[in-house]
């Protein structure tokens, strides 16, 4: 089978977020980048599907030139090749992101056959738009499910499981289909050193799509000013236990 996994390179934010002077992006001068958490699991899922069924996994991203590093990360895990839609670093809204991805899918399918599955993260780790997968499915006329935590493929159908109160809801889709994956569907492997070396020579097809007018137009980012607290230090080491128990008692949780 042929599986496409779409990823987004997002800043690896830790404690505090600092913005650029124009407040349109996170200041990444001192940050690394990573594949979004849901997409990391989507990559693992794509690799597992190919290990089980044979075929080819392809990774795609729309992002700046530095996102090549995240494509290489996916290639190191067993993905065969990459498609890089290179941007100038400005954000793309969900509709223009979808349009660029759909065009790339159509071009790839014309050249090397249809994808049975397109995997996306349920929502981007940074912008959390909750819609690119749905829009890809709509544009291609393929069924889409979101929030998926269990996936298996047999007889041209995908069985997709979603957490629900008291259990899991099951969808069964005919292929080709689009699946939005949630973190927790699997435990992603770490890349091996030989995997990293092989990734360097795997093909990456780069192109520069034009960014259309944005209909969800980012104007400004704001870091909400939460009430900055300073924790009351109850003590140091195990000697603090009686003070902790007093607090637990006062909070009524003992």
């Amino acid at each position: 089978m042929k599986v496409l996994v779409c990823i987004k390179s997002v800043p690896a934010v830790a404690g505090r977020i600092t913005l650029t002077p124009d407040a349109r992006a996170i200041d990444t001068k001192h940050l690394g980048f990573a594949i979004g958490p849901h997409e990391e699991c989507a990559v693992e899922e794509a690799v597992r599907l190919i290990e089980a069924h044979g075929g080819e996994a392809v990774v795609l991203t729309l992002g700046p030139s530095t996102a090549l590093e995240q494509l290489r990360d996916a290639l190191a895990l067993g993905v065969a090749r990459a498609i890089h839609l290179v941007t100038d670093g400005q954000e793309w809204d969900p509709e223009s992101t979808t349009a660029a991805i759909v065009e790339a899918i159509r071009a790839d399918e014309a050249a090397s056959g249809p994808f049975d599955l397109v995997l996306v993260g349920n929502e981007a780790g940074d912008s959390a738009d909750y819609q690119v997968g749905v829009r890809i499915g709509r544009a291609l006329g393929r069924p889409v499910v979101t929030a998926i935590k269990g996936l298996s493929v047999a007889d041209g159908r995908a069985r997709c499981e979603q957490e629900a109160s008291g259990g899991r809801d099951v969808f069964e889709l005919p292929l080709p289909a689009v699946v939005g994956v949630l973190e927790g569907i699997n435990l992603p492997r770490f890349p091996s050193v030989p995997g990293r070396l092989r990734a360097k020579s795997k093909p990456v097809e780069a192109s520069e799509p034009a960014r259309p007018a944005q209909r969800l137009e980012l104007q400004r980012l704001v870091v909400p000013q939460g009430a900055a607290k300073q924790a009351v230090v109850l003590g140091h080491g195990p000697d603090a236990a009686p003070a902790v128990v007093e607090v637990l008692s006062n909070l009524g949780v003992l």
């Binding site: 069924p143 889409v144 979603q162 259990g167 809801d169 969808f171 980012l221 236990a241 003992l254």
Partner: protein, 330 residues
């Protein structure tokens, strides 16, 4: 004055609070204009299907007209079918905005309806004003960051971040209920729930626990969680962990508290060996009180915590358990 259509979801046949929040948000967006609500339901009497009285319940929160779409297909979740009815109704009532709950189900239905309608969609908004263009403020990074954006379209599709507004009834408000049977194309029933697998009952639910005890990278191993489990058991608490723990394979993702894990809202959150990364705190900000146990007095969690103990969790956590036993006279 604008016309607003609200997607109202129900849980087990009853009004859910998250939809009442969306309705309250929609009503404020309407600034006195007409507010419509769409409720989808299976056949009357089918298990889990809301009654007309339930639909009418949305009236008390400001919906003047509740459209109750009854169809056997709605006895299980069929997001494209709901989206088809929603987008069609938005056209029929000439809605200026379509609003719904920012849940997984709400977001997927609104995204589908917006895609069918050829309109932009802004997920997880905490504020909005209509106009040309509409303006929204929405959550990113699990609420750690906010985005102000313009929504350029003919109709604004907006989902409301859970708990961004409190549900507020409107005095003297009631709704007319218009029950109808929509036509649903077979193509819109390809994606639907065909089965439900019951989960094995598993202790205290993280999302609903009154006390949560979590461990992070500082716990160091799967076995390192034993003292954490012991303390949780003494407090009747659920055990949680950070993403560093799940990606290391020490605990299952089911236990993960965070932006991509479970969002918790306990009375007390005890976080041991957790630095307080953005990803984690996005899931813990519902906690009323936080006690941090960490060897680093400068860790980011110290500016989110109410109480702290500085030192090695491997010594401190068992000492707290021992002290609880002593206090209880056991």
């Amino acid at each position: 004055m604008p016309t607003i259509l609200v997607l109202a979801t129900t849980a087990d046949g009853a009004v859910d609070d998250i939809s009442l929040q969306a309705l309250t948000f929609g009503r404020r967006l309407a600034t006195g204009g007409p507010v419509h609500a769409l409720v989808v339901a299976g056949e009357p009497g089918a298990e889990g299907t809301p009654a007309e009285a339930t639909a009418a319940g949305f009236g008390a929160y400001g919906a003047a007209q509740v459209h109750l779409a009854r169809h056997p297909a709605f006895e299980t979740f069929a997001p494209d079918a709901v989206a088809a009815v929603l987008a069609d109704l938005a056209g029929r009532v000439a809605a200026d905005a379509v609003v719904g709950p920012g849940t997984e189900a709400g977001n997927t239905v609104l995204a589908r309806a917006a895609a069918r309608d050829g309109q932009p969609f802004a997920a997880n908004c905490i504020a909005a004003t209509l106009g040309s263009p509409a303006q929204v403020t929405r959550q990113r990074w699990g609420g750690t960051l906010q985005e102000e954006a313009a929504l350029h379209g003919d109709r604004a599709y907006v989902s409301v971040a859970p708990h961004a507004v409190a549900a507020e009834a409107l005095d003297g408000s009631s709704a007319a209920v218009d029950a109808f049977t929509p036509d649903i194309a077979d193509a819109d029933l390809v994606v639907r729930v065909v089965d439900r697998v019951a989960a094995a009952a598993s202790g205290i639910s993280l999302a609903e626990a009154k006390v949560v005890v979590s461990g992070g990278r500082g716990v160091g191993s799967t076995d390192g969680f034993k003292p954490i489990e012991e303390l949780a058991s003494l407090l009747g608490a659920a055990v949680g962990c950070s993403r560093a723990v799940t990606i290391s394979g020490w605990r299952s993702h089911v236990d993960q508290v965070g932006q991509t894990g479970t969002k918790i809202a306990p009375n007390l959150y005890i976080a041991a060996g957790i630095s307080g990364a953005t990803q984690h705190m996005a899931g813990a900000k519902g906690a009323k009180k936080i006690l941090a146990i960490n060897k680093d007095a400068e860790a980011p969690i110290m500016s989110a915590a109410d109480y702290a103990v500085i030192g090695d969790l491997h010594q401190i956590v068992p000492a707290i358990s021992a002290e609880i036993r002593r206090a209880r006279g056991a």
